[in-house]
Structure formats: C-alpha cells, structure tokens
C-alpha cells in the first residue's frame, strides 16, 4: 500500500502508477460500491486541519483528516457541518476512522440534508490530483465564488474516479443551542408522509423528519435557541392536530438527539441480515414506492428526508430497482460481492448522461487508473 504524506508525493504516486489504484481514506468502505481491484493508495497520510476561521464560518482540512477530528474542532467553537454526515460503521460492520475526503468522495449526508443541503452544498473548495498526476485547485475558502466552472460539485460524489482529493474546504454553520422532537405514534406510511409534509411546508424549520414503518413511529426534529424552541414546537403540534388530526408528544433534547443519531447511522439495520437499499424519490411518491418494495420482498422500511429517502432491508440478491417505476434512484448500500456485481451498486444512467460521464472520466483520468469500475 502506498501512503504518501504530502500532496506532491501523492501526485508522484499517481504519475508513477503502472496500473489501477484503489483509493482509500479511512478504509471503512471496503464492502461498498462496485468492487475495485488495484494497488491501494491511502490518503490517510495527508491529515490535519489547515485553516479554521470560525468568524468566517469556514474550515479547510487535508483529505485524510479523520472526520471525528473535524467535528471536534467545530464543536469546540459551537459550530458544525450542516449536512450531518452519517457514520456507517455499525451498519456495515467495519472499523477504522472515516475521513473527510471519503465523505466528500461519496457526498455523504444525513437527516438534516432535507433542510440544510447535502455535503456538496457545504463544500466550497477542493484540491485534487487527477489521473495524469496534475494537482488541480477549484473553488476556494469563501462562501460565494463563481470564478470559473464549479468542479467542486463535480468531484463531490465522484467516488474517487475523477481525482484523488487532497484538501477540502467547507462552509460551516453555528450549532443550534438545543433541539426538541415531536413524536407521533401509529401512523401508516401515507399518514406519516402527510404529517411530515405539513411540517416541511410550515415556517417551523423542521430539519429532521423520519418515519419508522415497523414500529409506526414518526419523528420531527426542531432546533434553535431553547426559549424560542418550546413555542415553535407547540405551534407545530397544534398545526399537526388541525391539519392531520394527529397528537404529537414532545421529546426533550437528550433523547431526541440520541434518536436522531440512531436514524442517521441506521442503527435499526445494524447486525440484521439482508441487503440494504437506499432509494431517493419525491416525498409524495414515498408511500406508494414503499408498498411496491414490500411486494417485491422488502422487509423493514425507514423513511428519511420527510419521505423522500427510503432505506429498505431486502432478502439477499433481491432486485428492488424495478419497484422505482418513476423518477428517482436506487443504490445498493450493503450487499455481498455477488449481488453487487449482478445488480450494480448505482442506478444505471440514461445513455446520453452515461456518455458524458464516460467522456469526463477519460479527460480527468486518461489512463483509467482511478478506482476503475467503481461507478460503472
């Protein structure tokens, strides 16, 4: 395994590569995506926060920096990464330290994504090494920047196939003083999505909306200053009563926070057998999709993002993609190599888009050595 300590050394590794490279950050993803074979190139040696300017809400870190280190530094200043990245070690049964580079390469976001945007929305600058070994910079460390093309977005979620990220810069936000949740019991999928839709359509700024279909529990999180939050929760509860006829119980900060950490990391699916699918659709399509997924064999289904993100456990090897039947996409998050090979981790792209993706790969990685095959 190659483990360069500087960006220049990393570029040298890429330039000198004779065959495919398998890029690793914390290496917590070995069982994810389409399988890649190649010589391991670890980015973990490029570690450390290079700049943190709390008054300007910006943080820059080397790509191999453990995510935990970044989150600690932010917490010390009462700030946070708005997109609430999940920690998927429990659900995948892996160990290691997730890195900020890996998080960006996979565009990892959690429940707050529905209100605060995805990882890509907070990412404001990058440095990366392309497949020819050239160091490229794009974006910067300021929030507003329209200088040239936004390659920052292109690289976010490119799973290491367009470049090896060496540095990432984020727009961060103040961490809310506290949180509260409304918990509603006994709703079916349609009722739950209706309630979550009412919350999202109100000015209450709900920023976590999860429905567990098994125990029939619906959770809506509110965040802000303690004094104002109680009032807001009361208003939302009253609104849910009049608009949906449901009664919500108010859950205090401690248990609410714990519950949402569990939702973020898919605690409910940890240690349980079966393939794990992740489906993104319009929230209003969620309940009907859930019904089709069950008909196709899915067991437990959990809704996030107000109904727009469905997590589904299914018996090994079951193809849930045909259930989509409309706009959206289905990603295989956890499955054995056989299934991943047979079904592909990612939703197949329309031919015109696939052609553009392929041409971009050929430009950024002319020798085809960066995580070849990971994205198809």
């Amino acid at each position: 395994m190659m483990r360069p300590e500087t960006e220049a050394a990393l570029a040298e590794c890429v330039r000198g590569a004779r065959g495919p490279l398998c890029i690793t950050g914390g290496g917590t993803r070995q069982a994810l995506g389409n399988p890649v074979t190649g010589e391991a190139l670890s980015v973990a040696g490029l570690s450390g926060i290079t700049l943190y300017d709390p008054g300007a809400l910006t943080l820059v870190a080397q790509a191999g920096t453990p995510l935990a280190e970044v989150e600690e530094a932010l917490a010390a200043e009462g700030q946070m990464l708005p997109f609430e990245p999940m920690d998927h070690r429990a659900v995948l049964g892996t160990s290691g330290a997730p890195t900020v580079g890996g998080m960006v390469a996979c565009n990892v976001s959690g429940p707050r994504r529905i209100q605060a945007g995805a990882c890509r929305d907070s990412l404001i600058g990058i440095r990366f090494v392309n497949g020819a070994g050239a160091v490229i910079r794009n974006g910067g460390r300021v929030m507003k920047n329209v200088t040239g093309y936004d390659l920052v977005k292109l690289l976010a979620g490119s799973h290491g196939t367009l470049g090896v990220l060496t540095e990432v810069a984020f727009k961060v936000l103040p961490r809310p003083e506290t949180c509260l949740a409304l918990r509603i019991g006994g709703l079916d999928d349609a009722g739950a999505v209706a309630a979550m839709t009412v919350a999202l359509g109100s000015p209450c700024e709900a920023n976590g909306l999860v429905h567990l279909s098994g125990p029939a529990e619906t959770w809506i999180r509110l965040e802000g200053f303690a004094d104002a939050l109680k009032v807001r929760a009361g208003k939302l509860a009253a609104l849910l009563k009049t608009r949906c006829g449901v009664s919500a119980e108010i859950v205090e900060a401690g248990p609410a926070r714990a519950a949402f950490e569990g939702f973020r990391d898919l605690a409910w699916a940890a240690g349980r057998p079966g393939d794990l699918w992740r489906l993104s659709v319009r929230p209003s399509d969620g309940p009907a999709l859930a019904a089709r997924l069950r008909a196709a064999g899915a067991g437990e289904i959990v809704f996030d993002w107000g109904g727009g993100l469905l997590w589904a456990l299914a018996p090994e090897g079951t193809d849930l993609r045909p259930a989509l039947a409309g706009p959206g996409h289905a990603t295989l998050l956890r499955a054995g190599p056989e299934t991943r090979r047979a079904l592909g981790a990612f939703q197949p792209e329309a031919p015109a888009i696939a052609a553009i993706s392929k041409a971009l790969r050929a430009r950024f990685d002319p020798r085809g050595i960066l995580n070849p095959g990971r994205m198809g």
Partner: protein, 480 residues
C-alpha cells in the same frame, strides 16, 4: 478588451443561415435586421458592444434544439441570453454569433407544494417565480438585486446569489434539475424533483458555467415556506475594524441572520443624500436582519444587541415597525442608484474571507488615493462578497482606463488574501483575462476539459470565461 476576429465565412453565409433558422421557427422569432439586433449588442456591461449576426427567440425546448442543430452544422457560435442583465459581459455577442434568447420561454410548468418544488421554463424572471407561489405562502430563495428583470436562465448561467444567501445559499443550492440542450441539439435531463441523483453532479457544473456547456430551457427549483416575519437592526461604528469584529462575533455567537450588510462612510453619505433614510454619519454601518416568529425575532435581536453593545456602537437602532424596517433598508437598496446620481461608477464584485475585511478596506483606501479615484463600499458582510464602487468621470479621457486598472488591482488583492475574482457576477469577458491570477494553467485546463466534453467544437459562448490565449487551440477546433 480583445475579442477573436469574426469568422468571415460565417459573415458571408448570413443569408443562408438566417433562412435556415427562419425555416424552423415561427414568424418573428428570427431577428436579423441590424436595426433590430442592436437591442442585443450588449448586456449590463455596456462598455463593450457588438452586433450579433442574428438573434433568435425560440418558444420551446424543441425549437431551441432545432436552432442549435443548425448552428452546429453551420459552425456558428451561439450566445445564450436570459434578460441580459449580466454585469460581466456574459451575454455579449460577437459579430459572427447568433444570440439565443429565452425570453419567450416563460411558463410555469408544474408546482408541487407537497414536494416543495416548482418547474418553470428558464426565461421566467426570478421575481415572478416567487410571484407564482407567494399567495400560497412559499418563495424562491435566491434574490439577486436584479430579480425584477433577470431570468432563471441567467441565474443558472451565473449561479447568482442575493442578500439572503448567508442563510439560503445561492442558485446551485436551490436548483434541483434542468432540461439542457447540448450544442448538437440533443436534449438531456439532469437531476429532478428528487434529491441527490446518482452519478456525477453534472447539474452542479452546469450551474455557473456561463452558457458554455448547453442551453437550459427548463428548471426544477426548490421553494420554501415563507418565514413568519423578519426585522432588521442597524448598527453604526466609528471604525471598520470594530464593525468587522462585531460581524464575526455575531456569527460566532450562534445567531444566523438572513442578511448582514456593511456600508462604509462614502457609501453611507451618498445614500443618505439620495434617499434621506436617516443614516448616522459614521465610519461603518451594519444592517443585520433576522427572521422567524415574533418570539424568535425578539430573542435573536436581544442577542445581537448584547454583542453589539460590547463593541460600543455609536448608533444602535432596532426597527419597531414595518415603516422603520423599510427606512433602514431604503438607503442600502438605493446604494447603486445613489452613487449613479453623483458619478459614473464601476461596480466590482470580489470575495474575501470576512476576517480580512479591515485590512482589505484599508488597502483599498490606499490604492484609491494612489489612483486619485474615490471608492465606496457596500458589502454582504455575512459571506465576504464585496462590491467596491469606483467613481470616475466617463467624459474625462483616460479615466476609464485608470478605473479599470484600479479595479484589477482590487480584485488581485481579493485573490491575494484568499478570496476570489467574482462572488456573484461571473467572469464573462470582464474578468476573463484575470483568471490566470487565481488559477494555474492546470486548474484552467481541468475546467476547459469539461467544456470539451459538453461542447467539443467550442461553439457555445466561446470567447468568455477563459483567457483567449489559454483557450486558443481548443477554440480552433483542435480539442479532443
């Protein structure tokens, strides 16, 4: 400013090209009479002008595709245009190009409050998108000051922002999908009403690509429920440093205002003289606006007031009514008009890390003295987007050139302190030749690689964004 020499073979083929375009578009949609194409000779950057070969105003995605197919076959450059309010010359034509205006594409196609999106044709103006959903309690967040006139097409082309982006982000953060017509006439759908489509974020690169990758004809936009209310507080300080420190302290205290505007003394004086908003005569003025319910507004303003008082402001005025709020905003909103009353001016648009603010303002003052040209500053302090206004006299020979040189110096300073050349107006032709200050040849090459993929013949808005020397071989069709 240099532009490539127009292709003579295109100029001589004008009748044939116009005839082909007329054959696929309804009557009146092709404009080729030089009297009428004059309306398209420039955008908001009026210092540079050129008449296009022709202008076309298609009314559907299919018509846009037909136009592009013809121009592709004829090898004619195409310059997409929304409302032409770009301040960077992004929609400025060349003599051998066809202007493709989307003004007739202005329908609302679909609205879903349950899924919180609206799908529109891109010729629709920014403000009229909010207009379409306002009665139901929703709004479209990005709010450039030009929102009454500018089109969603141009907002996507420039990734435009507005006063409220500290909280709501810019266009790219509110854009869910587009219908994109490529230069060869093929139509692709990127993104859609669901979040985070799999695959590369092509939508993210198209946004802000200044009409160089494809023509956007439809857009799916995120809409948000309107906050219950909003209220500003006005703070005056005797020094820029202290005002800058106050901004940082507000942010660090966990309050996230929707807007923090900063004005320096020359700007305050000009605005006050123009609209009589009752501004104090201070070194620096901050307008901080918060939103939410009545309780939330009160609690946030109390926090801001406490922080501000630690910095001993010479003025602290919290709005107590809608009239007072309007008055506080009145001067700020009239800033550009106010400056225009006194002088010709050039409006810059650079970004800096907020922490560098006092130093940058000091340096600008020094440079202003060196050049003998006054500079006034209005500033979105929450996100570091500066708009220095350089005052000059257009009738004074040599003044414009001096003004441009000072402008370039200020933008280079922005880059030097860790910021960038443009925060919201775009590169266009205006900053094209400064790009090498911010980017290395490899950085620029990676961006141009993307253009090669979407538009291998470099026919879409080709002479913009990249320094002409850097793009020369690619424009000559030797890409691939």
């Amino acid at each position: 400013m240099d532009m490539p020499i127009p292709d003579a073979s295109i100029l001589t083929r004008k009748p044939q090209i116009v005839a082909r375009l007329e054959a696929v578009l309804p009557p009146g949609a092709v404009i080729s009479d030089p009297m009428e194409t004059r309306a398209y000779e420039c955008d908001g950057l009026t210092a540079y002008r050129c008449q296009p070969l022709a202008a076309v105003l298609p009314a559907s995605t299919a018509e846009v595709a037909a136009v592009l197919r013809i121009c592709h076959e004829e090898g004619v450059p195409v310059v997409p245009r929304g409302s032409g309010t770009s301040l960077a010359g992004g929609a400025m034509p060349t003599a051998d190009s066809v202007i493709l205006g989307v003004a007739r594409l202005n329908a609302v196609l679909e609205t879903s409050y349950d899924d919180r999106y609206i799908r529109v044709q891109t010729g629709r103006t920014n403000l009229s998108v909010t207009g379409a959903v306002e009665a139901d309690g929703f709004f479209y967040a990005p709010d450039p000051s030009s929102q009454l006139a500018c089109a969603i097409a141009g907002n996507i082309g420039m990734n435009s922002g507005g006063a409220h982006c500290l909280k709501y982000g810019v266009t790219t953060n509110n854009l869910l999908g587009v219908t994109l017509v490529l230069m060869d006439g093929s139509v692709v759908e990127l993104g859609g009403a669901h979040l985070d489509a799999a695959g590369y974020d092509l939508l993210g690169v198209v946004c802000g690509s200044e009409g160089q990758l494809g023509v956007v004809t439809e857009a799916t936009l995120r809409i948000l429920p309107k906050p219950e209310g909003a209220r500003p507080i006005m703070l005056g300080f005797d020094s820029n440093e202290v005002a800058g420190a106050c901004v940082a302290d507000i942010i660090r205290a966990g309050v996230l205002p929707v807007a923090i505007e900063f004005m320096d003394r020359p700007c305050i004086r000009a605005c006050e003289a123009f609209v009589h908003a009752g501004y104090p005569d201070v070194e620096a003025l901050l307008i901080v606006e918060v939103e939410g319910s009545e309780e939330e507004i009160a609690s946030q303003l109390a926090r801001i007031r406490a922080i501000a008082e630690r910095h001993a402001p010479s003025e602290l005025r919290e709005s107590a009514s809608a009239e007072q709020s309007a008055l506080i905003w009145k001067g700020r909103k009239a800033a550009f008009g106010a400056m225009g009353q006194i002088n010709d001016y050039m409006c810059l648009d650079g970004t800096i890390p907020v922490s560098a603010l006092p130093m940058v303002l000091r340096r600008i003052e020094e440079m202003s003295a060196q050049y003998g040209l006054k500079v006034a500053n209005v500033f979105h302090a929450g996100d570091g987007n500066m708009h220095p206004l350089i005052l000059f006299d257009a009738n004074q020979p040599g003044d414009l050139e001096k003004c441009e040189a000072l402008g370039a110096d200020i933008l280079c300073l922005c880059v030097e302190v860790g910021g960038c050349l443009t925060g919201e107006h775009g590169v266009g032709v205006e900053k094209r030749d400064l790009m090498s200050v911010q980017f290395s040849p490899d950085d620029l090459s990676a961006q141009m690689d993307v253009k090669d993929v979407f538009d291998p013949g470099w026919l879409l808005n080709p002479a913009k964004v990249f320094p002409l020397a850097a793009s020369e071989t690619r424009r000559a069709g030797r890409a691939s």
